[in-house]
Amino acid sequence: MAQQEKREVIERELTMSRAMVEAIATEMRDNEEVFYMGEDVADYGGIFDSTEGLLDEFGYDRIMDVPISETAYLGAAVGAAQEGMRPIAELMFVDFFGVAMDQIYNQMAKNTYMSGGNVSVPMVLTAAVGGTYNDAAQHSQTLYGTFAHVPGMKVVVPSTAYDAKGLMHNAIRDDDPVVYMFHKRLMGIGWLPAPKGPKTPVPEEDYTIPFGSADLKREGDDVTIVTLGLHVHRALDAAESLADDGVDAEVVDLRSLVPLDTDTIVESVEKTGNLVVVDEDYRSYGVTGEIVASVADESLGALDAVERVALPDVPIPYSRPLEQEVVPDAEDIEAAVQRTQ
């Protein structure tokens, strides 16, 4: 008798923070050598809910509060990782990388290469990124370009709960250093409400999503919108509005900056001819320039129109009308798309 395979539809939804935490908890149960270190990760559960509930199960030893001392504890994560442990070290705000960048880009990112592959650094560097809630210039950045630019670290940016869990499992299991950048507004925090979109069905069991694999969040024929993080959802909003105008947008969620899935991007542009890149990082010398150049490199003839939508090259201002001006919204994306049509 033929067995009919009934595909189970995943119904249970999680916020992005819960999906991340679920992955971390599973890995920590499976492997004693995984531990989480950061500021306020123990009793507080992470300022942005990145370790919510983990202290109860794993205790202060494995959910480790650290002094306000990024160079020391990120460097300690490097040292522990080189001994074979699998630390997850958190930058409370990615903007704090400045005080510890040496350990990040000169040690974490380079020791594997400088040792000819004889040493590995199996750590995850998590970092809360992004603005839109008036935290001003030193607490609102994404810095995608900065981290993607320096060689030696994998860089991932989930935009949904489903992606967040799969990427986190991969990040922890990977023997290479992975920078895992989670957007504060996508986490599902009470005091920083998420838009619709990041809360998605999430399978109960563990699964991994490969790095370097962009995801088509919406298919379309008229324009390719390449984006990441929060702006995946703003792009999807723009796409809905554009549909009313008869413009069919394809939204490519990068999910991963290093490695970068150029194939998916090029394939899309070869279909639509129009490329709009949307980035919540500064315009110059960053993601938008990189994507446009990559496409031009591989398929210059396919490009009919190019638009770069990003933060202008200014520090992010505090006051509401000013911040709204500099951070692109769905209308800005829509306008950019219209300019290509």
Binding site: I10, A72, A76, Q103, S115, V119, I209, F211, G212
Partner: protein
């Protein structure tokens, strides 16, 4: 004073002679091809070279207490520490000569030597090795082993945040780490008193409620004693220690440094103190005869010559290899396939 065995003394002596001869020979090899006009990137050893002639006691006296599974991080002047730690001398030398069979396949060079077999690493940013050493101590603590970590740094590094942060981190988490400050009085051209008010760098430890001790003379046995206590404290899980050792820089900061900033008396004083000869005297007073001492010297010299000859015979790396070894796993991580779930669609 706890007795140091003659065997240990002879082993330290041999390490120190090896280190001194190694640096003197590297100086010769390095200057080849760079004269008469000093072109830093010419010759068999291109780039910067920071030699540790005069530092030997700090390497040997501490590493005498260490095992292979103890971790050591060192700064840009590392060779004497590497030798005392038991780093593979041939592959280290090949790495310094930029050859394919070097410790890092020629990708790291003299400032970035990694020997995972003996848990040794050095790096080129000041005080940068302190946090990873604390991290190795953290791993030992979490795994409940009795291995320890040692971070070396220069007296010019005690003002760098990475050192101070590591002291606090190691203190609050009670980590099995020993910080060894090598005070040679010069941070390139800046004398110690120009950059800090503190005469005894080990005093910094007190600010973090840690024990600190200064060894005033680069007397290998005095270093040995101080290190025995510190390493023992760490192994017994009684926390970190800071040791400052007075050493002397017999050569310039880097090869090519004319040292015009350094008073002649200072240079002469450095040449006059010799921790190696002092240890030779100690050996004699422990009943070791001159013939044995001479044998140790010869053995050290031979080892150095063998390593250098071997290294110079090694192939240059293939240029294509420059693109390899960024990661140990594939770029995609532990998988390259996407799972195939059906997620419930939105219904509102």
């Amino acid at each position: 004073m706890v007795g140091v065995s003659t065997t240990q003394m002879k082993s330290m002596f041999e390490d120190m002679v090896t280190a001194r001869h190694y640096e003197e020979r590297l100086q010769e090899e390095y200057l080849e091809g760079k004269q008469p006009a000093f072109d830093i990137s010419a010759g068999p050893i291109p780039g910067e070279l920071h030699l540790a002639a005069g530092h030997e006691a700090a390497g040997a006296g501490v590493c005498a207490h260490l095992r292979d599974d103890d971790t050591v991080t060192a700064p840009h002047r590392p060779h004497h520490v590497a030798i005392a730690k038991g780093v593979d001398l041939k592959r280290m030398t090949a790495e310094i000569f930029g050859r394919e069979t070097g410790l890092g396949k020629g990708k790291g060079g003299h400032m970035h030597l990694f020997d995972p077999d003996v848990n040794f690493a050095c790096s080129g940013i000041i005080a940068e090795g302190c946090p990873p050493a604390a991290g190795a101590g953290l791993a030992a603590k979490k795994r409940n082993t009795d291995s320890v970590a040692v971070a070396y740094l220069g007296e010019g590094a005690i003002d760098q945040g990475a050192f101070l942060e590591s002291l606090n981190f190691a203190a609050v988490h009670d980590l099995p780490v020993v910080f060894v400050i090598e005070d040679n009085d010069w941070a390139i051209s800046m004398p110690k008193e120009r950059v800090t008010d503190v005469e005894n760098g080990a005093q910094r430890a007190a600010g973090f409620e840690l024990p600190g001790v200064r060894v005033d003379h680069d007397d290998a046995l005095a270093v040995y004693d101080a290190a025995e206590e510190a390493v023992g404290r760490a192994r017994d899980r009684n926390g970190p220690t800071v040791i400052e050792v007075q050493v002397h820089r017999r050569m310039g900061h880097f090869m090519g440094d004319p040292e015009s900033y350094r008073p002649e008396e200072d240079q002469a004083a450095a040449q006059a103190r010799d921790s190696i000869e002092r240890l030779a005297d100690d050996l004699r007073s422990h009943g070791v005869d001159d013939d044995t001492i001479e044998e140790l010297r010869e053995s050290a010299h031979e080892r150095v010559e063998e390593a250098i000859e071997w290294a110079k015979d090694q192939p240059q790396p293939d240029p294509e290899d420059a693109h390899e070894d960024m990661f140990v796993n594939p770029p995609s991580g532990v998988t390259d396939t996407e799972p195939d779930y059906e997620l419930a669609g939105g219904d509102d």
